[in-house]
Symmetry: C2
Subunit: 332 residues, 2 copies
């Protein structure tokens, strides 16, 4: 670690006490303008920056937030992080990253996170089961650390969250497909977890049931080489005229298989992705998508968390951001 100038050095050089230096940094209005200027000058000359760790210990505030997620390398997680990081910077919070894999000892990981003394936590759930969510939320709330769910929501408990209404969005998309005359609408998802995919599925099933159509839920892998085989099999044995994929990569993987099997998209089969990642404009044809404003969800959730950490008045603690659909060439 660096051997920096300390508050004592500044106090000495400015011929004031360290308490005054501290005040200049934290409550400048409480110190005489003249002394303030003098101290500020010395701070600048010495390039002084208070030791964040010492400050954290003394004030019991680390101005650090913990981001808890399952897998950093997923495209959606990375984009959420973009929004989070920009707002965190704006409000001068540092970011600590914690990955929490389900196969690990969840409790141990949680204790670790709590011991790191973050002022608030953003939970980006993608991989947890409902019971695990319960455990995680309880643990954090027991530790009295402000918590906001990012790109997720939780109906059983009173937990602040920022997301979009995945159920309503998927319901509407499915219904539109039904009304456009599609008869065999498939829904491709991954393994069952309690995350946004759960709500997407709910919306799809609701629309299908309302139209007295049997839901066709197909679970596959995020790994393209695996899903390709799955989709080949699927197309061989079933008539499909529309498919909605919970991830863009799944939708595109299906689309590629369909086209290579001789189908035309969108003439024979309509394909929709539920993310609108960068993948969506790199496919041929480009993918029609639910436009999930991932960056915004990250940004707004971080902003909400700053409010909790500052004990500000909060009017709405379950924020659903508006969503839209980007019509491209994979649907007609």
């Amino acid at each position: 670690m660096a051997n920096n100038t300390t508050i004592y050095d500044v106090a000495g050089a400015a011929k004031v006490s360290l308490a005054t230096v501290s005040r200049v940094m934290n409550n400048p209005e409480k110190v005489n303008p003249e002394t303030r200027e003098k101290v500020l000058k010395v701070i600048k000359e010495l390039g002084y920056r208070p030791n964040a760790i010492a400050r954290g210990l003394a004030s019991r505030k680390t101005t650090t937030v913990g981001i808890v997620l399952a897998d950093v390398s997923r495209a959606a997680a990375a984009q959420l992080l973009g929004g989070i990081s920009d707002i965190a910077k704006k409000y001068d919070y540092a970011i600590k990253l914690f990955t929490m894999a389900p196969e690990e000892d969840l409790k141990e990981t949680l204790r670790k996170i709590v011991s790191e003394q973050v002022d608030g936590i953003l939970l980006l759930n993608e991989e947890l089961e409902k019971e695990e969510m319960d455990l995680v939320i309880n643990h954090i709330q027991d530790a009295q650390i402000p918590l906001v769910l990012c790109n997720a929501s939780y109906t059983d408990k009173d937990v602040p969250s920022v997301s979009i209404d995945y159920e309503a969005a998927t319901y509407k998309l499915t219904k539109d497909l039904i009304e456009s005359g599609k008869k065999n609408i498939y829904f491709a998802s991954t393994v069952h977890k309690y995350s946004s995919n759960f709500f997407k599925l709910q919306g799809y099933e609701k629309a299908m049931k309302e139209a007295n159509m049997e839901p066709n839920v197909f679970r596959t892998s995020g790994d393209v080489s695996i899903s390709t085989l799955h989709f080949k099999e699927l197309l061989k044995n079933h008539k499909i005229d529309a498919l909605i994929g919970v991830r863009d990569s799944i939708a595109i993987s299906f689309m590629n298989v369909a086209i290579e099997s001789g189908y035309k998209v969108p003439e024979d089969i309509s394909v929709i992705g539920l993310q609108n990642t960068k993948y969506a404009v790199l496919s041929r044809p480009q993918l029609t998508c639910l436009d999930t404003p991932v960056y915004d969800i990250g940004a707004v959730s971080m902003r909400l968390l700053t409010k909790y950490m500052a004990n500000e008045e909060i009017s709405d603690d379950n924020i659903l951001l508006p969503h839209s659909v980007v019509k491209r060439k994979s649907t007609n």
Copy 2:
């Protein structure tokens, strides 16, 4: 922040001094097995976890590493983070994320990073100019914080780094294209920065010059809607029979434009990407790529950093991981 059980609580319950509790956690071999067991039992019962901030202040070690990058949301950055995070977890280091945009006050950001008291820094450069790199490296080395460059290298200074030999890899790929008879080989990159793209370009130019061919370097945007226009224009005015893209997304964007303009890939034009991200298997045809082992680069660089932080003997401080080429359907 959470009101946790402290070391005093443990000491009290175990009827020992806090020094002993501390020793049980940090130098267990120095304490009598019986007392050790007694203390361990209490620790477990109380679910005690030492306050990381207090520990950091007292020991001047935060067991935290800083990851400095330009943009979290880029696919390559996210995958590097995956490898970093896994190894960090293994060695019990926490991760603090710092974004450093060139337009910001670099010095201020650097001071901020130093003030956060990380034990080591991993620099993921993607967006800096060479002079900025200089500034950043100097600042961190002056602060005496161990530094490792991740997915980058720096020839002017003695800075530990983990990367692959981008120049050699691109040289070889270009040379192979030349030898297979391609006459008009283009290289598509983004704006000029001192990053891996710089070395890729070097390799391309070297191969072209050796063959007495004029390098055709085309700079475009990472934004597909922009690059699409660029590529349409390019194809209209130039004969191209091969293109190498520094990013997969750039290569795919070009490939899509080419195919929609009536060219056949790979029959008329060979296309190669220099990353091998997930995009590469979602394109049609799938993209031949330099296989950059991004996860491994992240993991190895983090491992190297742990060695520096622990003052271990280091045999090689400029590691070049092996690379390979994944031949897919976009080349013949």
